[in-house]
Every structure is written in C-alpha cells, then in structure tokens.
C-alpha cells in the first residue's frame, strides 16, 4: 500500500472516528467548510456571515497515520454535514475506524470506515470537493490582547444556558476591579446581569489590563454551546478592537487533545 499512497496529496487514518465526529458536529452550523490539511494537523473552518468563524483543529498526533505532501496545498471546500453523516454511518452507538484519502486537486475526499465491533462490514464514501472560498484572516498580531480568561467549560455552559433566550445582545464587561467579569443581557423589559469575580470556582485564571466593554449578538455566542458540551476547558481572549476569540480544548481518553476555536466579531455601538 505504501507505494500507492505516497502519490496522494493527503492520507490519514485513526482507530476511532467518534471524537472527530463530535468535534465536527460542534462547528456544523453551516453546510460547507474549508478543509485544510497541514503538516501539524487537520483544520476545518466554517463561517457564519463574516461575523463568526469557527474552526476544528485536530493535531496530527491524533491520527495513527498522517501524511501530507510537502510540495502542495491541501485546501478545499467540502460539505460538512455530508462529512459528519458519513462519519456516523454506522449509527451513534458504534465507533468505527477511519481512513481518509485525497488524491489530488479536484478529486473527491475518500473515506473508508469500518465498525469496531463488527467484521464483514465496511463503508466507502466519496465526498465531492470544491475550490475553497477565501476565509477571513482575523488573527492580527498588531492588535494587543486586553483580557484573557480561562474557565471550566461545563460551568460556562451552564452560565450561557441560564441567559434569557429572547435577548438579542449580550454585553460582557471585563475589568481588573471587582466584579471582574459581568455579563449583561437586555430583554424587552428587563436587564439581567451575572457577575463572575475572579475568585469564582469556574475561573481558572484571569488577567485584564484595562476595563473593556464588549457587545455581541447572543446568537453568535450560543454557537459555541455544542463545543462547550464536549470540551473540558475554555479560554476567552479579547483584543482591544473588540474581537472575541474563544478557544476550547477537548481531552480524549488517550490523553490526546483536539481543539475548537471561535472568532466572534463585536456589535458596533449605535
């Protein structure tokens, strides 16, 4: 097989596709994703109306075999809902091993899946690929980071779940003074506020250089809920231009890690 696969742009295999499925499912709020295989790992990126950018990142050490050709770019657009359906082809209760092949530009992404508990069954998938759309470059090294928060994912999920659903906007105030974090939502007739001082159990680390007031669409922030549900740790970083970066870490049983990352653009003050 070795001589056969070396001409492929990208090949990878893993023993259990379940975590990958859950990870992709958590950023699947759009039909299509940009699939990018780099030497260090695999990254899939989804954008919501140029306001939210979500990526799933799987470091190469999660794969039992991972190979990207050095002389080419492995970058294409793929239907992420089809990809997740294919990863889940044997149903939610069945974990399966996974192999991925991508021969060259324009060729489909091939998946071969085999359930762990059953022999005599296998699935081949050919998923069409398209030329990737350009994605926003939101990371800007020149803009200073103002605040960084490390929280327990489950507690933060509880907090987001408690927020009034009918509200459109959420305001996050960060400050070096007490109460370090306060989250405010504005409804039709009410205003509710949750304060999280840095001494709180859910806060693992807090740093903030200057007070900052940020406004986002609550719906955008809610997009991270699925990722929160499978992650253990969440890092919120805010830059002076209001851009919010949320990084989530998922720890697997085998000590390996996978990540999701959300960039959320702020609402402008009216």
């Amino acid at each position: 097989m070795d001589d056969g696969t070396s001409q492929y742009y990208f090949t990878a295999s893993m023993d259990s596709g379940k975590t990958l499925y859950n990870l992709l499912k958590s950023i699947q709020f759009q039909e299509c994703a940009v699939f990018c295989a780099m030497n260090e790992g695999l990254k899939l990126t989804v954008e919501e109306g140029k306001c939210v950018q979500a990526s799933a990142y799987i470091p190469a050490d999660n794969f039992t075999e991972y190979h990207v050709r050095d002389d080419v770019d492995v970058l294409f657009k793929i239907n992420i809902s089809v990809l997740t359906e294919c990863l889940n082809i044997f149903g939610a209760n069945e974990d399966s091993s996974l192999k991925m092949y991508y021969r060259c530009e324009g060729s489909p992404l091939l998946l071969v899946l085999q359930p762990q508990s059953m022999i005599n069954v296998m699935t081949d998938c050919e998923i069409a690929t398209q030329i990737a759309d350009s994605i926003l470059e939101l990371r800007d090294e020149d803009v200073p980071e103002v605040a960084k928060l490390v929280l327990k994912a489950s507690a933060f999920m509880g907090l987001l779940g408690d927020l009034e659903r009918s509200c459109d906007t959420i305001e996050i105030n960060l400050s070096p003074e007490h109460p370090n974090v306060s989250i405010i939502t504005y409804g039709m007739q009410d205003r509710s506020c949750i304060d999280v001082p840095k001494s709180s159990d859910m806060v693992q680390s807090f740093s903030c250089k200057q007070a900052i007031r940020l406004k986002y669409q609550l719906y955008h922030l809610r997009l991270i809920m699925k990722a929160l549900a499978i992650s253990s740790k969440v890092v919120l970083r805010s830059s002076s231009n209001g851009l919010l970066l949320i990084q989530l870490k998922l720890e697997k049983e085998d000590q390996r890690q996978m990540f999701t990352e959300f960039f959320i653009l702020p609402l402008l003050d009216d």
């Binding site: 239907n79 294919c86 082809i89 149903g91 489909p108 005599n120 296998m122 699935t123 998938c125 050919e126």
Partner: protein
C-alpha cells in the same frame, strides 16, 4: 358474522403488540383478514392496481390464541375482512405487554367494533383490572376482497439473508438524510451493498458473508448503467433502486423478535423484505423498484 378469540400466553401477546406497532408506523389503515386457520394484516396502497401490497403479514391463529371461533358471511365466503385504523389498534394494545388475558370480539355497537377486553394484573393485590377498548372497524364488502388477495410474486433473482436489522437501520437512516433513494444490490457470493449517489457524495456500505438462500442467475445487465467493479462478475449481482423512506419504515420491524430475515430481489423491479418470528409469523414488505 361472528368472531371471538382469547389469548393467554405472554410471548404471543408481546409479539402481537410489536407487529401492530410496526404496522401503525407503516400506514394509517390496515385490513385485518380473519380466516379459519390464519389471521392476516394487509396494507395496500390506494389505487395500487396490480402491484403487490405494501405489507403482508400472516399469523397462524393456533400459535397465538387459546380459543378461536369465527363464522364468515356464508359457506362460500368463509372469511371476514375488516378495515381498521392501525394507530388505534396499536394504542389499545399498549397494555398487552403485561396483560394476563386478552379477549377479542367482533361486536355491534353504534357501528361495528372490534372489542378488546384486556385483563391486567394489579401490582398491589391479587385482584385483576379489566380494560376494555372498542375500536370502530369497517366491514370490507365482498366485491372489494379481490384487492387484498395474496400477492403473486415472480421467482426472485436472489434471496439473501439480511444483516442484523438494527445495524441496517442505523446505516439506512444516515443514508436517508442524504438521498431519497437507495440502490440495494446483492451478489451470489453473499454480499449485500447499500449505495447512494448524490451530487455531493457517493456512499456505499457493504456487508459480506451473508447466506444466499437461492440465486437464479445470470443477471442481464445489458441495459443498465451498473458500473462493473474490478474483478467481479456482474452477472452474479442483482440490484434494485428503492425509496429510502420505505426501506427505513420496514426496519421498524426490528422490534419484533425474529428468527431470520430475508431479502428477495427481482432485478430492477422489486425488493421483498421478509421476517420470520418464533411464533411462525410471516411478515413481508414489498418495495417497488424505481426506474429512471
């Protein structure tokens, strides 16, 4: 016309519940045909013409009922055909799983009814509770009986054992979200392939090592678009394109405890899915092939 039957064994009671439940998911209405030695559940599509019914389920009465009496219309028409809303029957039978006894009668209330008397054990005392359901039925007139005749199926090109239905169902349900129809193919070597093709994806799941009950080859592929796969004799492969939803609906039958399941394929025309239970029930679904 008279009908009265009594059921006391928990095994058949459970099985009947599952069968009726499965039927209620397949169709709103079904026809219950009662004859001397068998009862039948039949689901047919409206205006189906000469096509086979959607479902044909045959239950031999002696395995299910401890008492069974019936009198048809007259000497020449010994059977009774009743049209019934399958969901109401299914709802009434929910309690049957834990019942001690079931009596079924054909009664005349304001309209003809199938009366079910279910005797339930009480968890706190020795006394039992009596639950009674009257389910309205329509007596099917004799001139329409012909629509519910036993389906005449041509000799299948292949009859192959199905993999565990639960497993099959998981896969079909995933495929169903991506495509409205599925190509099912079976080879004389015991391989069953489920395949979908859409603009965005081509997915095929293969099950190997299944028993082939019978094979009437070779299959003529001269007019088809079947892609010949490497090193495989396509004259030994038989396939049919069918509606994914209908296939998935049959797989609800997974809840009926079964001994074996078979898939009969008539190349490009018809797929018959058949399930046999411990109590000798024969449950068959007919899915017509789709031809583009």
């Amino acid at each position: 016309m008279k009908f009265r039957a009594v059921m006391v064994d928990p095994g058949p009671m459970r099985e009947l519940t599952h069968i009726v439940n499965t039927i209620s998911k397949l169709s709103k209405e079904c026809v219950l045909r009662l004859s001397d030695d068998k009862i039948y559940f039949i689901v047919s599509e409206d205006n189906s013409g000469p096509t086979p019914p959607v479902l044909w389920c045959e239950i031999s009465q002696s395995n299910f009922f401890s008492e069974y009496q019936m009198i048809g219309i007259d000497e020449d028409h010994k059977d009774i055909y009743l049209g019934i809303v399958s969901a109401s029957l299914a709802k009434s039978l929910v309690t049957l799983k834990t019942a001690k006894m079931l009596k079924i009668k054909l009664t005349k209330k304001q309209c003809p009814c199938l009366t079910l008397d279910i005797e339930m054990p009480s968890s706190i005392s020795q006394q039992t509770r009596q639950v009674s359901h009257d389910i309205p039925v329509v007596v099917v007139p004799r001139k329409l009986w012909g629509e519910f005749n036993e389906p005449k199926i041509p000799q299948p090109d292949i009859s192959i054992e199905l993999p565990p239905l639960k497993q099959l169902r998981n896969t079909i349900d995933r495929m169903k979200t991506m495509s409205s129809d599925i190509i099912i193919s079976a080879s004389a070597e015991g391989r069953l392939t489920l395949q979908i093709k859409t603009d965005t994806a081509k997915v095929s799941t293969r099950f190997r090592g299944l028993n082939v009950e019978s094979f009437e080859g070779p299959i003529d592929h001269s007019d088809s678009e079947t892609e010949s796969q490497t090193c495989e004799d396509i004259s030994k492969i038989c396939s049919c394109r069918i509606d994914a939803k209908k296939f998935s609906m049959f797989l609800n039958a997974e809840q009926i405890s079964h001994n074996r399941t078979l898939c009969h394929i008539i190349h490009k025309r018809l797929v018959v899915l058949q399930l046999h239970t411990k109590e000798n029930v024969d449950f068959q679904c007919f899915i017509m092939g789709i031809v583009y």
